[in-house]
Every structure is written in C-alpha cells, then in structure tokens.
C-alpha cells in the first residue's frame, strides 16, 4: 500500500512532539456507558494547529473517545469518565466548567450530516445567536466568512434563505462544518466526516481540513488509511483486546505510524491485514 504524506510531518525540520503546545492533553482516560467500560487508559496529546487522525477497527471506541473530548457523550444517558482531559491546561471534567462554553470552544462535525431543518443562513447563524445578539451586519459577515472557510460560499451565496435540507450530502456536510466554524472554536472534532460522501466532495473536505489547520486544531476519526495519511500530522491507533475494551495502541507522527510503527498490531492494521 502506498501512502503520500503531508509535507510538514515528513519534513525533518518540522516541529517534533516535544516542541508543540497541546491543545488537549488526555491523561489516563477511561469511559463507561452505564457500567460497561468502552475505553480505558488512553493518554495522548492533541497538538495545537495540527491535524490528529484517529484510526482503528470498528467498535474500538474512536467515536467514544472523540465524544468524551467535548462531553457531548453526556447526552447519551448515564456515562462516566475516569482520568483527565485538559483543554489548554484546564480539566474539562472539573466542576467549574460551563458545558456550553466548552462545546463552543471544541466544535464537532458528525458522521452523518445533521443540518437543522431551517434555512442555510439560519443554520450557520445558529450557534452565534445562541450566545450573543449580533447585529445583522456582523452576523452576515460571520455567516459569509464561515461559509467561505467551509468552501461552500460560492455554491450557496444566492440561496442563503433556502432550506438546508435541499443541499446535497456533501454540501450539507460542508454546511455543518461552516456551522461549527461560525462560533470560532479552538478545536474541531470530526467523526468520519467523509464516510457518506463521494470522492470529489471528500477531496474538497480534505483540502478544507488542511486549510483550516492554520486557524484551529483538528482531530479526525477516519476508516480511510489514505485519508489519514493525506490530512494528518499525527495519528493515534486504537484497538480492542479480548475484553472488548478500546485502548490506545500507538500514538506518533503520521509518518512514523504508517512507515515504522513499533507495535505489530499497528503495522498489521495500516497495511490492511487486520480489522
């Protein structure tokens, strides 16, 4: 299997792990649905301004891990977390944390595009309107720049008042990205954002991710090895053992994980012999 890598990860002059600021620092995280443990002892950093890919076989807890990073998992019922997740040094599971502020700082894009059944404009403006009362002109600006960042502006600028449900799947997904970007998050979590999309829409979103890296930090779950190697600088490989509990097997620069993984399981997975 052939992989092409993003420049900065293979470039020897690119910053190494030690020189980076972690936007999120995960320490010994365990996650329970009810009494069922889904992941355990995960420790890793998500570096600021970098794209971190999360790969691994189905059911190994990638989505669970991602959802634990902005505590959106708490909508799913009784869940419990052990360990720590630090967002620029603050533990997101501490009592003082305001959940709504947290989620504004750590946005999320889901596997299935989930636009609201309202107009394109109102979708993008939604998050902004929730926490502030912007003037019409500043809102217009925010919406336009978010749609431009999501590479959707030229396709929808004449139809901003049309229903978002009239867009194609790929456009809807970029709308969801624009909607997440409009609240100016520091981190964007993406859970298989391209799994429902055709190759052209996928390519657009990959270009977008690369571009967005200048402004924010991205963690992306993907089943597509080529995609992981194309868009990310760092890669985390998750897997399960006989106990069916997900674990972080290996974390490193994307080049390292794909070319010279230290764990045999990682090597098997990225070479397509497993999962």
């Amino acid at each position: 299997m052939q992989f092409s890598f993003h420049d900065s990860a293979t470039d020897p002059s690119s910053p190494t792990a030690s020189g980076m600021t972690p936007a999120l620092r995960v320490k010994d995280l365990a996650f329970y649905y009810g009494s069922q443990k889904a992941i355990e002892s995960v420790s890793m950093d998500i570096y600021q301004g970098q794209v971190t890919a999360i790969i691994g076989p189905s059911g190994c807890g990638k989505s669970t891990f991602l959802k634990a990073l902005n505590r959106i998992s708490e909508l799913e019922g009784t869940v419990r977390v052990e360990g720590q997740v630090e967002f620029f040094g603050q533990n997101i599971y501490s009592r003082q944390v305001n959940l709504n502020r947290l989620r504004r700082q750590i946005g999320m894009v889901f596997q299935k595009p989930n636009p609201f059944p309202i107009s394109i404009y109102d979708n993008v403006a939604y998050g902004v309107r929730v926490y502030s009362r912007p003037s019409r002109s500043s809102l217009d600006e925010t919406v336009e720049s978010a749609l431009k960042s999501a590479a959707l502006w030229s396709e929808v600028k004449d139809n901003l008042n049309k229903s978002a449900l009239g867009l194609s799947g790929g456009q809807q997904q970029r709308l969801c990205i624009a909607r997440a970007l409009a609240v100016k998050p520091k981190i964007l979590l993406m859970d298989e954002p391209c799994s429902a999309l055709d190759p052209i829409a996928t390519m657009k979103i990959e270009e977008l991710i690369d571009h967005l890296r200048q402004e924010l930090t991205i963690a992306i779950v993907t089943h597509n090895m080529q995609q992981a190697s194309r868009v990310s600088q760092y890669t985390a490989f998750f897997s399960t053992d006989e106990s069916r509990i997900g674990q972080l097997i290996e974390f490193g620069s994307t080049a390292q994980i794909f070319m010279e993984a230290s764990q045999p399981r990682t090597r098997d997975y990225v070479e397509g012999r497993f999962g």
Binding site: N70, N100, I118, V130
Partner: protein, 329 residues
C-alpha cells in the same frame, strides 16, 4: 478451481436454480389474496358509506328548518319552542368560545407536559408515570368528568370567579356576577378533557425528532432550553398544530360534561362568568322531547352546522400539517 469438493455441490438446490418460470401456478393462493383485498376495501368503503349516510339523513331531517330559516338561522338568536322560531347564534357562539378557552388553556399545558415527559429534565421513574397519568385522563367517561365538575370544580373555582369579577370586572369578559356554572368553567372542563390528546401527540412528535438535531444543537453550545425553543419546537410545529386541531375537534363535539357545567343559558354574553350553551349540549337537552317537525328540523340543522365546524377544523389540521412540514417553508 477444477477440484471443487464434491459435498459443496450437493448443497446447491438444482431445482431452485432451474426454476425460472414466472407464470402464476398457484391459482388458489392468488384467489385468497384477491378476496382479502376486496374484503379490506369493502370495510374501508363501509366507513365512507356510513359517513355519507349519516350526513344525508341529518340533512334530510334538517330540511324543514333549512327551508324556513335559510342562512339567517346562523345569526338569529331566538329559540322559542312554543312559537316555533329558532336561531342558532347563541349555540354557535357558545361552542366556539368554550372550545377556544379550552384550547388556550390546554395548548401551553399540554406542550409543557410533552416537553417535560420527552426530555430528560426528570428521571425516567417520574417521567413515565406523569405521561401515563395524563393519558389516563382520556379514559375517564365524560359523565364522570361532568359530575366532578359540578361537585368539585365549580365550588373550588367559585372564589376564583368571584375574584375575577371583583378585581377585573373592567375587562368585558369578567363583568358579570358569577353564579357557579359558566362558560369559563365549561372551557376549563374541556381543557382538561383535550389535554391528553394534545400532550400525547406533541410528545410523540417531539420524541420522533432525530437525535442528531439535539446533538448538533448541543455541540454548538446551546443549552437544553435553547435547543427546545430553537430546534425542537420549531421542527415539531406541524405536529403540534395537528394535535391542537384534533383537541379542538374533540372540544367542539363534547356533549355530556359541558352540558353539566355550562349552565344552559340561551343568552349571548361577552362575560365568560355567565352561563352559556353549546350546540352539542342543546342537542342532548332537547332532542328527546322534540316532537314538532320544525323543532327537530332546527336541531338537525344545528347538528349539520356542528358537523361542518368539526369538518373545517379537521381539514384545517390536515392542510396545516401538510404545508408546515419543517424545512419546506
């Protein structure tokens, strides 16, 4: 691939592979299918036939009154059995006003019940009983609700009615001395009776909203209340309106409980503290004793009007539900 093991071939059902005939060989089976189709269609048609038959009978019996009074029946106020002059206005007015009061009270409460029982404000062991008890109200016979209205609700609300009269009598709807039974009480009784309909349907509609929309809203930093008001209720609007219309339809046609608490007065009054009357209440009170053809005709004419009212409300519900589908606005 030449050395395919023998047993594997035995697993293949040759007959099935070779059977590519599409012709219908089992005539017996298709006959039962056809018969069943006819049977079901027949049952479905019988509903339409009964409805048509009913309208026709009512229309024919109303004929004497329709000929005598014409459309003027709708806006005259006299109902004198001895003089044989009849006018429907007080009953149309009473029906519409009591149902409107019912809707105004029951819609917000029903929505609140729907929201509280479909969202996770409360632990499930409180939520489900609330939903169950509210839906149980629908199972109480209306005579019993009427009795409860007379013996419990009227005495209980009399001080409230007094207070409204004493302090708010400058508002026309409260400017009469309350005597117990009133339009207001009838509206409240109706509100209780349509509450389960509104609550149960709105709850179903809210529960049916895709979970993804809640997650999307929360992931943008919205609180649960913001999600409810900005995403869930707007998405559910057509279903909620449908629920309201169904409730209204039921309120318009409710007979027994209303008759028992409305006071059965034929005067039109702006004050809700005064007694009033409704079409179903009048029909229930007078039909058994009506002997004159014109009297019966006038009652049937009223029934026809009620029929038309509920039909309009239900059609409105269908139209609203159709055209207010979320996202198609």
């Amino acid at each position: 691939m030449t050395a395919t093991p023998e047993p594997a071939q035995n697993l293949i059902d040759r007959d099935r592979l070779n059977d590519v005939n599409l012709a219908n060989q089992d005539g017996h089976n298709s006959f039962i299918d056809q018969g069943f189709t006819w049977l079901v269609q027949g049952f479905a048609m019988s509903v339409v036939i009964v409805l048509g038959w009913m309208s026709w009978v009512i229309f024919r019996q109303a004929q004497p009154a329709i000929e005598k009074f014409g459309f003027g029946f709708l806006w005259t106020q006299n109902w004198d059995i001895n003089e044989l002059t009849f006018g429907a206005l007080p009953y149309i007015y009473g029906t519409l006003v009591s149902s409107a009061i019912a809707l105004i009270i029951a819609l917000p409460i029903g929505l609140a019940v729907a929201v509280v029982t479909s969202e996770r404000f409360l632990p499930p062991w409180i939520r489900s009983p609330i939903a169950f008890v509210v839906e149980l109200i629908a199972a109480i016979p209306s005579v019993i609700i009427g009795l409860w209205g007379i013996f419990v609700l009227i005495p209980f609300l009399q001080p409230v009615q007094q207070w409204l009269f004493q302090h708010l009598s400058w508002i026309p709807i409260f400017n009469s001395e309350p005597a117990g039974p009133s339009m207001l009480i009838a509206g409240i009784i109706l509100a209780i009776m349509i509450l389960p309909t509104i609550a149960a349907i709105s709850r179903e509609v809210l529960i049916a909203i895709p979970k993804e929309l809640r997650t999307a809203s929360a992931s943008l930093g919205a609180t649960q209340w913001e999600t409810i008001f900005r995403v869930l209720l707007p998405s559910a609007i057509s279903g909620i309106l449908g629920a309201a219309m169904l409730g209204l339809g039921r309120a318009l046609g409710e007979t027994m409980a209303v008759t028992m608490v409305i006071g059965n007065s034929d005067q039109i009054s702006t004050s809700l503290l005064n007694p009033g009357n409704t079409i179903p209440a009048l029909l229930a009170n007078q039909f058994a004793e009506a002997s004159d053809g014109l009297h019966i005709g006038a009652l049937m004419y009223l029934a026809l009007i009620l029929f038309a009212l509920t039909l309009i409300v239900n059609m409105l519900a269908i139209v609203l539900v159709k055209f207010l589908k979320p996202g198609e606005a």
